[in-house]
């Protein structure tokens, strides 16, 4: 079936949460799966010491409801993977977490998404600091049509994070190093970012995101436009970034979810069907829909 080597490694170094969930998972071996008709979330949505808490989140595009009553926690220093068939609302959900949905006409979000105890959709919450705190990497690599340096320096510059040029240079260098791109681009920092290869562009976008030093990084199918080699480089990068950031990743690839994440959430037509430790979701799903999806019956 799936290769789960990466998950096994992390399980050894596992967090409290995982051990807790794992222990629980051990007891359900003989329990029958939840029927396909049921839409309540199966599994434990809460974690100890969460970084972000989502409760009863509903998203509407006009009259159409795209996300139905989703509750989930995002823990510190964990990679949470969101999987599900196309149109299930995982991208919509992840875009709620830094209010990127604000840019979409007719999009309405209800429920609570708490960051540091504040609902980020409150009227008086400023999106600018929110997005500095919750960074985002998009599906298609979208570097600015500027130099590589300018791409990374843009965030720190608009937020006034660097006092002088040398400090900014240092920030750019660390970010590029963290993104694993420094060695490849250090000699051509003034060349356009759009001239890099697809994988390099996506790593540049990751460098641009982490240059602002966010606490949470949202990744919306970051590898869907990349070849397997570039994908594996980015996956290694995500794996390393976990020690400093909380990461939410939307992915179509179940292998990728299995490789990089500690917890996995399965979405189906706007419902959060099942949440659990990645290993358990892929080996012993509790909901029939999850079972169907991971065994390739649909999706």
């Amino acid at each position: 079936m799936l290769t789960l080597t990466r998950v096994d490694e992390t399980a050894l170094a596992g967090t409290m949460t995982e051990i807790h969930l794992k222990a629980k998972g051990g007891t359900d071996a003989g329990r029958p799966r939840v029927s396909r008709e049921k839409r309540e979330t199966v599994g434990t949505v809460t974690v100890e010491n969460p970084r972000m808490v989502c409760r009863n989140v509903n998203v509407y595009y006009g009259d159409k409801q795209a996300i139905k009553n989703v509750s989930i926690d995002i823990g510190c220093n964990e990679v949470l993977a969101m999987i599900g068939p196309s149109g299930c609302g995982k991208s919509t959900f992840i875009r709620c977490l830094n209010r990127m949905n604000d840019t979409i006409e007719g999009c309405r979000v209800t429920g609570d998404i708490l960051l540091d105890g504040v609902n980020i959709h409150d009227k008086d919450v400023d999106v600018v600091p929110l997005r500095a705190q919750v960074g985002m990497v998009f599906q298609k690599p979208n570097p600015f049509p500027k130099s590589i340096y300018e791409n990374v320096a843009y965030g720190p510059r608009i937020h006034g994070m660097a006092r002088d040029k040398s400090e900014l240079d240092a920030m750019v260098e660390t970010s590029l190093k963290k993104a694993g791109l420094w060695e490849e681009v250090k000699d051509r920092m003034d060349q356009p970012g759009t001239g890099l290869s697809g994988g390099q562009q996506q790593r540049l976008c990751i460098a641009r995101t982490i240059a602002v030093n966010p606490e949470i990084i949202l990744m919306d199918e970051p590898c869907s436009a990349l070849d397997p080699i570039a994908t594996s480089v980015i996956e290694d990068l995500i794996f390393e970034l976990r020690s400093q950031y909380s990461i939410c990743i939307v992915t179509h690839s179940m292998q990728q979810a299995a490789r990089v994440s500690q917890r996995t959430a399965y979405f189906h037509l706007g419902d959060l069907i099942e949440v659990g430790p990645t290993e358990r979701i892929f080996t012993n799903p509790r909901h029939e829909l999850t079972q169907d999806y991971i065994t390739g019956r649909f999706g």
């Binding site: 840019t103 999106v127 600018v128 500095a132 298609k140 843009y154 608009i158």
Partner: protein, 431 residues
């Protein structure tokens, strides 16, 4: 699964390749035909364009050369008194020189015909010479003076000499004098600096386009400095900031309608609002610029909006994603990428404004203005109106000036477009 017997009994299914091959020839024929139509359209339009240019240049190039006559002028101190250098009777000097040159001419009729060879502008030429160098008084000098436009037309061959005298503007006697001057080398076609440096005049040989060029320049400066920022700001607001609702829809529809409004209507609006209500000066480039701003705004707004729409949303998301405010996103990323498109729209609008005459007639820029405008509130006319005025003039010499003015207008346009293209190239970026 079919058994082998079944397949043998069934009719042989047609192979796709056979079907494709059958229609292939027809497809290529259609393609060739279409290419031919396109090519024919391009050739045809190029031919018309060439025809237009050739006819304008052929008619107009001669206006850049003007006939001058060299006369031995004696700056007679009796005629020029020192204290009235400005008001002295310089025409008398020209007359004296001519009568000395042709001593046999007698009688008022003939003398008038003789002095009619010279342009009335030669007076100013002599006055300027004396004012510049007062020591000339009392001395003589050979001076090149402008010939009258009729002489010029005769020399350029626009007047036929074989017509009966009564149907000619130049009499037999005048032709004889001209021929004599020509044989003495006193008649020459020299580069027409007057045409490029003077304002309008009733005398074709003294008329120039500089007044109209200045008027066009001031008018377009007003138009550009108002319509570009207003147009871009309106487009950015509508495209990036405004909510999409019934109001913005209404505004959009109205902007599109305004772009289609006949330009003379804007002229009437300018007359009613800027002149009659606000009491701004008549015939001024300021008002002309305001009217043309109203006219070009819709074009610029529409072009700018489509340029903004063409900026990929991923760039906006990228900027917002690192925490840029909406304003920073627009200024740092969207505007630079949309600028080439906006400049294209602006240049289209400005080119239209440059060639526009109808709305300017309404606000009095059609007046006969000799002085060259020095500012935005001086009376002025613009190139297309100047062309219209000259094409309406009866003198034969204005025909070539009309074409020459069109050449100047086209040159103006080419310079403007080249500037815009250079700017656009500078801002153009790939993404």
């Amino acid at each position: 699964m079919n058994s082998p017997i079944d397949t043998a009994a069934a009719p042989e299914p047609q192979r796709t390749i056979d079907i494709v091959n059958r229609s292939l020839k027809r497809r290529y024929r259609a393609e060739r035909r279409f290419r031919f139509y396109g090519l024919a359209a391009i050739v045809l339009s190029l031919m018309f364009l060439a025809l237009l240019f050739v006819s304008i240049v052929a008619k107009g190039y001669s206006a850049f050369w003007q006939t001058s006559i060299r006369l031995p002028i004696v700056f007679d101190p009796a005629v020029i008194q020192q204290d009235t250098l400005v008001n002295a009777d310089y025409a008398a000097l020209v007359r004296e020189a001519l009568f000395k040159k042709f001593p046999q001419v007698d009688g008022r009729q003939d003398k008038r015909q003789l002095t009619a060879l010279m342009s009335s502008g030669s007076v100013y030429r002599l006055r300027d010479m004396v004012l510049k160098d007062p020591d000339l008084v009392g001395r003589g000098a050979e001076v090149w003076l402008l010939a009258d436009d009729d002489v010029d037309m005769l020399i350029k061959g626009h007047f036929r000499r074989d017509l009966p005298e009564a149907e000619r503007r130049v009499s037999d006697k005048q032709i004889a004098w001209i021929e004599q001057l020509e044989s003495e080398g006193r008649l020459e076609r020299r580069f027409n600096t007057t045409f490029l440096s003077a304002g309008d005049s009733r005398e074709p040989e003294l008329a120039g386009v500089w007044g109209a060029v200045s008027g066009s320049f001031f008018t377009l400066l007003i138009t550009l400095s108002l319509s570009f920022p207003i147009g871009v700001a309106a487009a950015v607001y509508l495209e990036e900031f405004a909510r999409k609702n019934r109001w913005t829809d209404l505004i959009e529809v109205n902007i599109n309608n305004l772009a289609a409004v006949p330009s003379i209507v804007f002229g009437l609006l300018g007359l009613a609002v800027f002149l009659n209500f606000f009491g701004l000066p008549r015939s001024a480039p300021l008002v002309g610029g305001l009217v043309l701003t109203l006219m070009t705004l819709p074009t610029i707004i529409i072009a700018s909006r489509s340029a903004l729409k063409a900026v990929p949303p991923s760039i906006r998301e990228a900027a917002l994603g690192v925490g840029a405010s909406k304003m920073q996103m627009v200024v740092h990323h969207v505007l630079p990428l949309a600028l080439p498109g906006m400049l294209t729209g602006t240049i289209i609008g400005m080119a239209r404004a440059l060639g526009e005459s109808a709305p300017l007639l309404m606000i009095g820029m059609v007046a006969f203005i000799v002085d060259i405008p020095k500012g935005f509130t001086d009376s002025a006319t613009v190139l297309p109106v100047q062309i219209y005025l000259w094409s309406d003039s009866p003198e034969r010499a204005f025909v070539e000036r009309t074409s020459a003015a069109i050449m100047v207008l086209l040159a103006f346009l080419v310079v403007m477009n080249a500037g815009a293209i250079i700017l656009r190239k500078k801002f153009e970026r790939r993404w």
